[in-house]
């Protein structure tokens, strides 16, 4: 799998390259700013790009803007955004265009090597990876009403689903069987009156719409 990295910290860029190469990915290019990222994506047409949100020259949200350009120019390239903080507002902006092939994670997550690589693979395969922190923000926001009807285990499943995990991923994380997960998910959709959706990222979209909706 071919990856382009855009990260302005030299140290972290080197770390990411090492991490990806040890884990069997091919790093097509590693750049330090948004312009270079767009050029590298045009040149190499990678499977996925790992993009730092805050990059030169402005050090605000260059990465997000570059990601939006990439979505237009090369929609087949998956984007995994890394940020020092996750803000639900940014997540909402990002996901408003599409939820396929997109990820938004705290930068800290790269330290959990296998979880991070799992998210990268999921995004590259057209799925979604949303940081648990964002999901918990969304869950907290939706405090009352239908969520109270869920059992604690079902809430855990809902959070993992919102992060973009597949049934197998959820089963792995909770150490239960996949069929148990499927049962939980059916219950959740029924309790929350969600339309049944096929495919992982459609499901994510449904869940996110529910969580993000006002009351």
């Amino acid at each position: 799998m071919r990856i382009v990295i855009a990260e302005d910290s030299v140290l972290l860029r080197a770390g990411l390259i090492k991490l990806l190469e040890t884990s069997g990915f091919e790093v097509a290019a590693a750049v330090g700013e948004a312009e270079g990222l767009l050029a590298a994506v045009r040149e190499h047409r990678p499977d996925a790009a790992i993009v730092d949100v805050r990059m030169p020259p402005g050090f605000t949200d260059e990465g997000v803007r570059a990601a939006l350009v990439m979505r237009r120019e090369a929609p087949e390239v998956a984007v995994l955004l890394l940020s020092q903080y996750v803000e639900e507002r940014y997540a909402a902006d990002l996901l408003s265009t599409s939820t396929s092939g997109i990820g938004y994670l705290l930068k800290d997550r790269v330290a959990d090597v296998s979880v991070f690589l799992d998210a990268l693979r999921r995004v590259a395969a057209g799925g979604t990876a949303l940081d648990p922190e964002v999901v918990s923000q969304l869950l907290l926001r939706r405090h009352r009403d239908p969520l109270d009807r869920l059992t604690p285990r079902e809430k855990e499943v809902l959070a993992l689903m919102a992060e973009g995990r597949s049934n197998a991923g959820i089963a792995g994380a909770l150490v239960v069987s996949e069929s148990a997960v499927a049962k939980h998910i059916n219950n959740i959709f029924a309790k929350l009156d969600l339309p049944h959706a096929e495919g992982d990222h459609r499901r994510v979209l449904a869940v996110l719409r529910f969580l993000d909706g006002e009351t």
Binding site: L19, Y85, E87, E88, D108, V110, D112, V113, Q137, L140
Partner: protein, 423 residues
Amino acid sequence: MASISPARRALAHAPWSPAAWRDTTFVASGVPLQFAGWAVLGSVWPFWAPVNATPIFLVLAGTCALTLLALRPLTRWQRERCWAMLGLHIPSIPGFDEGRAWEVLRGLRKPEVWRMLRYHLIVGPLLAFGGLATIAAWAGGAILACTGAYTWALPDTSPLSSVDKAHAVRVGMLSVVGVLLLVAAPWVAAGVRRLDARAAVALLGPDRAAELERRVEDLAEKRASVVDAADLERRRIERDLHDGAQQRLVSLALNLGLARETLTGVPDDAMRVIVEAHEEAKEALTELRNLIRGLHPAVLEDRGLDAALSGIAARVPLEVRLRVEVEPRASSTVEAVAYFVVSEALTNVVKHARATAVDVAAIREGARLRLTVADDGVGGADPSRGTGLTGLARRVRSVDGTFRIISPAGGPTTVTVELPCAL
């Protein structure tokens, strides 16, 4: 008070006392200066002859201009007289004593100019009459007191040197009047001196109210720049931490994570150390992230108060009903304070209030930003105890905001803060 006996006071004002002489020289030296205003006013009139038809308004304009031009030197001399003879310092007036001489001409709207005119044309000349009276008292007193000696020194043939008894009585009375005048002269001098000093301070120095106003403006400006600088500094620290320590820590945690996943054949002890270090590094990252977010969240700058506040609202393990209506945005320093207020207030609610729900509102009303954080908890919050609330109040005051907390025992607690939208 009032412990000074009349005898002491009389002694202090005795004709030979230093105070008497100081007052007298002060008052006497004032006379020519105090009449100078009138002199300037009258100086043009001799040149006005209706016959050669110099228009009256020209003469009037000339008089006014001359008087105004004379104000500054006259005032300076008067101040110097006060300083040299009484040690009384009358500060100069920033807007009046600086600049070129003719700039006074444009100053008719300035209250200082009118106060000067009052001194030099009205109060001063009246005081000058007081000064003349003082001089007259001294001179008259001295002459009359000497009457006896004078008549005694005259040759017997002089018509004034009569041996007549009635004449002797007249001479004696005149001498007594003279001595009385000499005794009174220091009192007159002291009175005139006191009036003059008071008038000079009030009319020739800076106006206290105006001075205070200027000072308040100056201080407000300085404070605003200090607050802005502090805010800027906070942002700089945030950026430095982000670019430095945080990147390094992520990189460290990444390497440790990599070691943990990929190293094989490592002794168990060594592996345990690696795992512990990895977990520590992740903890440190979380702590650092929270610290940085508390300093100045990047989202506040990018997206404004609404986005930043919904960020904290979402992090609080309570039901938070958030209402933000701040259009147009407040200044970035005020936004930072507002963010801090809500963040601290919510932290307090979580720590102490035992509440189940909080209402947070940030509403712009004209030039004011009103923040309310109302919970349904147990109340009893005391701003005099606990550093959270005092820090909050201090930060609010730093931008001229108001802070109110209503928290009866048993609850609920409402914190209301009003901030100006611009500094």
